[in-house]
Structures are given as structure tokens and as C-alpha cells.
Symmetry: C2
Subunit: 294 residues, 2 copies
Amino acid sequence: MKKVLSFDIGGTKIAYAVVDGEGRFSNEVIKVSTPKTAAGIAELLKTTAKGLEAEIDGVAVSTAGAVNHEGTRITSHTGNLPEGYNQTDFTALSTRPVLVENDANSAGWAEFSLGAAKGCRNAVILTLGTGVGAGIIVDGRLLKGKSGAAGEMHFPIDSGRKRICNGCGMYDCFESFASGTGLNTNAREYMGPESTSYDVIRGLKEGDHQARAAFDKWQDYLVKGLIMLANIFDPEVIVLSGSMAKFVEYDKVNAAANAKILTQPFALKEAVFENNAGIIGAALLLIDKLQNKK
Amino acid sequence: MKKVLSFDIGGTKIAYAVVDGEGRFSNEVIKVSTPKTAAGIAELLKTTAKGLEAEIDGVAVSTAGAVNHEGTRITSHTGNLPEGYNQTDFTALSTRPVLVENDANSAGWAEFSLGAAKGCRNAVILTLGTGVGAGIIVDGRLLKGKSGAAGEMHFPIDSGRKRICNGCGMYDCFESFASGTGLNTNAREYMGPESTSYDVIRGLKEGDHQARAAFDKWQDYLVKGLIMLANIFDPEVIVLSGSMAKFVEYDKVNAAANAKILTQPFALKEAVFENNAGIIGAALLLIDKLQNKK
């Protein structure tokens, strides 16, 4: 069975492991502080790949940013990663085949292949963290768009210029309501200027009415986004992942969204893979590619 | 070259023609008042197909409603068509192969194959009429979803329960702002209770400020929908069709939407095929299928 070295490149940490076609790790997942320069990141990837060369069939990379259809280079900006990182020539990092994919797409592919969306042909994997991301599966294939940037969850969902989005700079954007950042904003609006999403979650457990109002508003906007995704994609399942996913009231949100859609009902599920979804998904994409080439 | 008989089934009229693989008609497009019963519609299709049997390789049907992946039956309600129509056994209508497809998908496929989106791999064809519909092409294939219902342009785009959507019953829905019905609502809001979209269009030409405000509001919501489609699908082109498409200020809308998106710029174009897009698209889908079977 084929095995690949798979990296997940984050702004703070880089994680990696050797993974097989069933998502099993050969060893512990290693975490390294992200080097401060693009050259430093490239060097780390190269050295690690060299060190593991004898036992791997390829190198997979899950990364921020849009990635081209060939899986060889980044075609967009990459947020909080070092300047020049998005110019990295990934194919030069190893003598083995290298495949790069966007992190939300990689996570989506992991859930689709082996996780909460296994067995489906159409699925949306929504990552609710500081921002909101999506990996979208259409008829068994990753939705990429013309430049690999498809699945950006930025769209107007309100009016009145109430909030400005950190991710896209637009007023009234979905991300500014349905992300962790959005819940933080709700915390300040409902619970006072020093409050955060942690206060909302704690307050919910204690029966605090303001916390409930802040949380309900967050969840209402999530429902709005799910209605859009269900009506546009008619998926079997929408999977929620990311740091906020565990707070969602699944039955309530599921019922509220399914009551409003014109398409057939979808299932709402929590992701199976947590932090390792990116590593697993990128690895599976590369292994699929290597096996189809045989 | 293969030729098929292609029907476009509307609530008021049924149109049909014999079409070849390059979208050319063998004869004039015939229009018939839609029979009042489902049996009447089936009879009309059957008789016409029988009469043209010698010169056709198949029968294509563009219809309201979601259609299954096999293109054999409708899987949803069908609005203003007679009761029981959505139960029609289309494959029994002719001895020739029959293919059914949703009308927005058919129109989208016509624009993708031979019209304004020709040469693209990813495109959205948005029909702006009484309601809003979409035919979406992802990497060269029609987006269908699990039950053939994908592409429903119903999603919250505002808050405050300002309008209720005729199409889906939801408050603050895109369709209730960006459709012809939406422009009618704007006309009443800005120009008085008796005003309609016709008054808006006439007033625009005459430099009427209230008409301009009503129209700008309509166009602003169209821009919001385009931003969503561009960020989610990253398409090469978004094509506008339907009765409202000719009123859109393309350069202005194009610039406003492209200025806000995170994906690469898309082109905004007016549809090439007007009323015959459904007939042509359904015909091309069937001809493609027949030719791939050879």
C-alpha cells in the first residue's frame, strides 16, 4: 500500500505525518513552529521529505490559499504566512511526486473519503473557525473553479453595513456573522465590550439570557448559510468542522435549515477528523492520483 | 448528423422544434397553448413525436421542476403546470430515446455549449424572469446535486423580514429582490402603489430619480448574488438570461461585483439564446448522450 508524507501548513504551526490510503498514520503527528520566512518553510519541507524518502511514495501539502488544478502551485495570497510563501515551487521540494491542495479542500476530501460524508456524492464540508471555509464535493469531485479558488464563503447575507468582514473587506458578509469572529462580535453586542465567544459558551451553560441571544444570533446566520448551500448544491450532507463546530446545536440547526429549503433534505453532521483532516485529505488526494497513474 | 425533437414545456405555452447538434432548427419553432391536463400534455408530446418519428433520433424535453440524473422523470413539484404532470412517464412518449432536463439547466447547457459561455469550463447561467433560476456548469458538467434540484437561487440576502418570497416562502430571499417580481416591489416602494417594473424602466429613460432608486436597488441585490456565485464557483463567466437580462447595466454590475470578490475576475455576459435556449439545450444534452453511446 502506498504511503505519503503529508504536511499541513498553518500560520503558527506546521504538522506532518506519513499517511496511507486508509488515512492511517505510520507515526505520531509532528508539530513544528512555522518558520518565519518562505525559504525557511521550503527548507523544512525539503529536509523532512529527504529524511523520509526511502519510505514514501510522494509528498502532499495542505495549505492556505487557492491551488491550481494540477496541484503544483498556489494562485492567491496566503493570509498570515510569510511573504513569498505563495511563490513556493512545491514540485522542487522532493524527488517524489508532490501534490498541493487548499486546506479547506483537503479537509473536505478527508471527510468525503473516510469521514462524515463517506458514501455521498455531493457534500459540503464547512470549516467554522476564526473565519469560515468550505470544501465542496460535486458528484464525487472537488469543486475547484477556474483558478482553484472556489468555495470562498464570502457573500452578503444582510444589509445596513452592520459589520465589515476581516476576510474579504465587504460589509454584511456571511463570515462576519457565522465565524468564531462573528460570535465574538455578538458577545460584545449582547454581553458588553469586554466579552468574547468564551463568555457566550460559558453563559449558555449557566442559562444566561444574553449569552443565549448572542449564540442564537450566531446560529441563525449559520442556518442562513446552510439554506444557501442546500438550495445551490442539493447535497446529501453538510459537515461542520473547525473549532466552532462542537458548539452547534445540530438537531435544532438541521431542522431550521431543512424546513426552508426547496431541494430534498440534507443531513447535518459533525466532522470526524479534527486537526488532522488537512493532512489526511491531502494525502488521500495524492494517493488517489498515484494509483490512477499506475 | 443526429436530429432530435425538442420540447420546452411552459405553464402557458409549449414550444417545439427539430434541432441538430449545432443548435440549428429544421423548421419553424411551433408554439401550442399548454393543455389543461397532464394527460393532455402527454398526448400532445406523443402525437408530435409520432408524427416526426421518421426524421428524428430522439425526443428532448425542457421542463419546470427538478429532474433525476437519468433524465427520465421529474422529482419535484412543477409550479403552474397541471396536477399530475410531474408524474409523467416521459420515456413512454416515444419509441425513440427520450431525455428530460430542467429548463434552467437546459438553457444553461445551451449557453455553455454554443452561446455566451462557449469555451468555458465553469459558468453560471442566471435566468432573471418572474423568478430567478440558474443552470450551473462545474468543470464542464451540469451541477445536479443528489436529486437534480441544485441551482435553486433561494437564499437569505437581507434581514428584517422585509419581503416574503413567492418561490420558497422564506423572508429576505434573493429571488424576492433580484427577480422581475422584486423590481415590481421596488416600483411600488419608490414610485407608488400602482407602479410596476415597466414604470421603472420607462422612468429610467426619462431620468426619473425615483425610478433610478428603484432600479439601483434591484441591481444592487443582483450584484450581491453575483458576488456569492463568483466566490462559491469561481466561474469564467456569469451569463444573464430571461426577460430582465436586457435591462441590466452590464459594465456597472460587472465592475461592482468583481471589485468585491476573492476569486479571480469573471466576465458578465448577456445570453445569446433567448426564448429558444431551453429547446436547444435539452436537444444538445440528448444528442451528446446519443453520440457517446455510439
